[in-house]
């Protein structure tokens, strides 16, 4: 039960990264590799501030802001300096590795015994349960694990709700249209460069917030914790997409990222239980993403049905 609940908590925290990646890769259709750096940036910023005595919520907010700045840097390179999007992300990611070391002052920071964003929920759970353990379906679960799952759930639902609202506003809809069809949105009077900037800032703010929440979950921040995180975020998006199909409506797609992230953590937990080591995590991630990407295509080729197809139809890209 404890393992299940902490797996869910981790899945929910990483769903924040999933939403960031969803914004850049799916909505904006911009392959943003800044994510590997901005995840660590969020963790490093929050950890450094909290160790300096900051309130964990304020520290997490500043971490998100730092992530937005990282996204801005990539956007400026991609839209104003004419650098290929993927290379702009790699440049940011590379620069951020050094910046993160500067922020932390060394290669890792421990957060044991420091109040985190999970502490208020922990206090509440302890009070309600009358002790440090909660009985769930006849099993004792430490209150902090329950608190982490609850806090992460509230945070992720809030983010999903805000995205659902934002993506239907005039601006948010322009963002979606801009990813779909840059030529059309320009003809309608919106600068595509501005949309890319906005999308990358929002996306990396979410990723950095995910990094900050992740660091507080594991009570440490490490300079190399962000390696491959973009693929982990992509895994939630792709698994979610595979679950709901390509033509799903916006709220369903948003929910699918959350479900995809939790499901992916469970797959990883099962893989580790069957004898793989935590060090194999990145390999498992890559293989899972590969499978989810390739199987629908194979399915289509073997059966002639596009039921599982992940490609969006009818776009100018598809027509080209």
């Amino acid at each position: 039960m404890t393992v299940l609940l902490s797996t869910i908590a981790l899945g929910l925290v990483l769903a924040l990264v999933g939403y960031g990646v969803y914004l850049s890769f799916r909505v904006l259709q911009f392959p943003d590799l800044t994510v590997d750096g901005s995840f660590t940036l969020g963790a490093a910023t929050a950890a450094a501030l909290m160790l300096a005595g900051w309130d964990p919520f304020a520290a997490t907010a500043i971490a998100a802001l730092a992530g937005a700045l990282a996204g801005l840097a990539t956007a400026v390179m991609a839209t104003r300096l004419g650098i290929e999007g993927i290379l702009a992300g790699i440049l940011s990611m590379t620069a951020l590795y050094s910046i993160n070391l500067r922020v932390m002052g060394r290669s890792n920071l421990g957060l044991v015994g420091v109040a985190t964003i999970y502490s208020p929920a922990d206090a509440l759970v302890r009070k309600l349960a009358g002790g440090p353990e909660v009985m769930l379906w006849g099993q004792a679960v430490p209150s902090d694990v329950v608190a982490q799952a609850l806090t992460a759930l509230v945070a992720v639902l809030a983010v999903a709700g805000i995205l659902w609202w934002f993506l239907r506003t005039e601006l948010g809809s322009a963002l979606r249209a801009g990813g779909d069809n840059p030529r059309m949105i320009r003809a309608l009077g919106v600068s595509h460069e501005w949309l890319v900037t906005l999308g990358l800032m929002l996306g990396n703010a979410l990723v950095a917030a995910g990094g900050a929440a992740f660091a507080q979950l594991n009570a440490f921040a490490d300079a190399s914790m962000g390696i491959g995180i973009v693929v982990i975020g992509l895994a939630s998006v792709i698994i979610g997409r595979a679950l709901v199909g390509q033509a799903a409506a916006l709220p369903v797609l948003l929910a699918s990222v959350l479900v995809g992230s939790v499901l992916f953590r469970m797959l990883v937990a099962i893989a580790i239980r069957t004898g793989l080591e935590p060090n194999d995590l990145r390999l498992i991630t890559a293989v899972v993403v590969l499978i989810v990407l390739v199987v629908p295509g194979l399915f289509t080729r073997l059966t002639g049905s596009t039921l599982l197809s992940l490609r969006t139809k009818g776009g100018p890209r598809a027509a080209a």
Partner: protein, 270 residues
Amino acid sequence: MLRLEAVSKTFFPGTPGEVRALRSVDLELATGSWTIVIGTNGSGKSTLQGAVAGAFTPDAGRIWIDETEVTARPEHARARWIGRVFQDPFAGSAPSLTVAENLALAERRGQRRGLRQLIRAGSRARWRDALAEIGLGLESRLDDPIGLLSGGQRQAITLVMASLARPRLLLLDEHTAALDPRSAELVIALTRRIIERDGLTALMVTHSMAQAASLGDRLIAMHRGRPWLDVQGSAKRAWRAERLHELFSEMRREDRFDDATVRVVVPAYR
């Protein structure tokens, strides 16, 4: 209302592939006029549209819309005056957004995009009416992703989108070239209806001699980056499709030679 003064554009300058797409073009469109532009491949007809829309900045010359000089303004900063329909029927709409969302985005062409909800109560009836006018039953598909519709249906909606926020200038860039004959016919009928209903100023590039002969009140044939023929009124009506085909054969014949050869050889043909 649209004025071009000595506008020139050369692509790939200084290379063997250099194309002098526009050569010092002067052009003035009167408010409410409907100008048809024809020309052979590489004649500059699409480049002319690009210059007006702001797809690039001309190498020389100036462009005005009404009293505003727009020469240096990027595409998106000209959108509040210009409604556009492209040749690619998929280029004018965002496939993953619904028909209603596409219409709502177009309705705010050139305006600031804020944090109000895009789809607001009260707009749907207006959109339904606009779609009903197409005559394809699209008014019942407001909430479908527009990517599910056919090219012809999407091009018709794009045309409605371009006219929703009434443009000062409507740019049509071979907007039926990629459609099947029936859809093309439907889109042309709709084009005529919208332009006449709203009294729009339109600049329409076409590949079809039949369209060039039957539509509009002014006809410009582009050749080698310049208007070669520019007629309006009764003089335009004299240009039937067959005569336009002859004009085209002549222009194509010239296309096989370079500038210097043309100057020497062509008078001999005449």
